[in-house]
């Protein structure tokens, strides 16, 4: 105790950290965006919980076995996986300071994203056409809400991709654009993580049920 008191007496006592730290612009953006993704994760958790509770209530309507074509889902999953690694290539190009390369790989990622959305819309259209609409049963309501919310996220991801390509073309690889590329990287890979849950729980487990 006494030792602490003597050392404290030698130095000026500081109760607060009054030293003004430099805060470079956007230094907390990455963490903030990560926390946003975590809150997004909660949205999906709620929708997964809904699906888990309601997924077996077919109301004498069609069951996953009658509706889902696993080949199509496998193709869809491949689209998202490919788009994940092509986004990785875009980040690598950015690290090397290559604007053109970054834009090209972002464009390829966007095309895979659009491919995914196209297949998903085709599936939804097919389901609605054969009468498996969201109104048909609790299973279908929760299915369309969960998978549709994921699809909406991908849609906004694609819009963001296009915006980012324009920004890169206008300003090049400035610090703000690098930050944006990394944020969209997190968003895009996060959507792929959610899709792992979707194809496992909704499609594979659904067909098993």
């Amino acid at each position: 105790m006494s030792a602490t008191t003597t050392t404290a007496a030698d130095e000026p006592v500081q109760f607060y950290d009054l030293d003004e730290h430099a805060h470079p612009e956007g230094h907390s953006t990455m963490l903030g965006f990560w926390i946003y993704l975590m809150s997004d994760c909660l949205i999906f958790a709620i929708l997964f919980a809904c699906f888990g509770v309601l997924g077996g209530n077919y109301a004498a309507g069609p069951a996953p076995k009658d509706l889902f074509d696993l080949n199509l889902i496998a193709l869809n999953t491949a689209m998202l996986l490919f788009s994940s690694i092509t986004y990785g290539f875009a980040v690598l190009q950015m690290q090397q300071g290559n604007v053109r390369g970054t834009q090209i790989w972002l464009a390829v990622t966007g095309l895979f994203g659009l491919g995914f959305l196209g297949i998903e819309l085709y599936e939804f259209h097919h389901l609605i056409e054969i009468g498996a609409t969201p109104q048909r049963s609790a299973f279908l309501s929760s299915f369309f809400t969960l998978v549709g919310t994921h699809g909406l996220h991908v849609t906004f991801g694609v819009i963001w991709l296009v915006t980012l390509m324009v920004q890169l073309g206008k300003h090049g690889l400035i610090a703000a654009n690098k930050r944006r590329v990394m944020c969209l990287s997190m968003f895009w890979h996060f959507l792929d993580v959610i899709w792992i849950g979707v194809f496992t729980i909704v499609y594979l487990m659904g067909v098993l049920r």
């Binding site: 430099a22 956007g26 919980a49 993580v193 594979l204 098993l208």
Partner: protein, 125 residues
């Protein structure tokens, strides 16, 4: 991390710390993901095992693949953002597990205990 921020800003190239990605990480992540995706799809399409076993296996594969994505694609390390990324992730996982397990558990009991039972009308008073 507690290095002088002025010096950090002055050295020019990276003002903000960003996770460093490497080709090696992305390729390893991609190959692992393809394997971890292909096997569950094959298991469900071909059904070499019983339904229960298949369900358990594909759930494990999904969990492993999520970790693979976190590490190799999202560059999640205990040190990222001074540990705050991992802290918020752990917090979210705890909340998600409580919510998912709780919802499924409660609703399962509701379903099993409150389903209209088939009553034998002759037994009614």
């Amino acid at each position: 991390m507690s290095a002088d921020p002025h010096h950090h800003a002055a050295d020019g190239h990276h003002e903000i710390e960003m996770p460093h990605a490497s080709m090696r990480d992305y390729v390893i992540g991609f190959v692992l993901s393809v394997i971890l995706t292909a096997i569950p799809f094959w298991l469900v399409m071909e059904r070499p095992f019983s339904n229960g076993a298949t369900a358990a296996i594909i759930m494990i594969f999904a969990a492993v693949q999520i970790v693979v994505h976190m590490v190799f694609f999202l560059h999640m390390t205990p040190k990222a953002e001074d540990g705050w990324s991992l802290t918020s992730l752990v917090f979210t996982v705890i909340v998600v597990v409580i919510m998912l397990a709780g919802s499924l558990w409660v609703m399962h009991h509701l379903n099993t205990n409150m389903m209209p039972q088939v009553h034998d009308t002759s037994q009614l008073p």
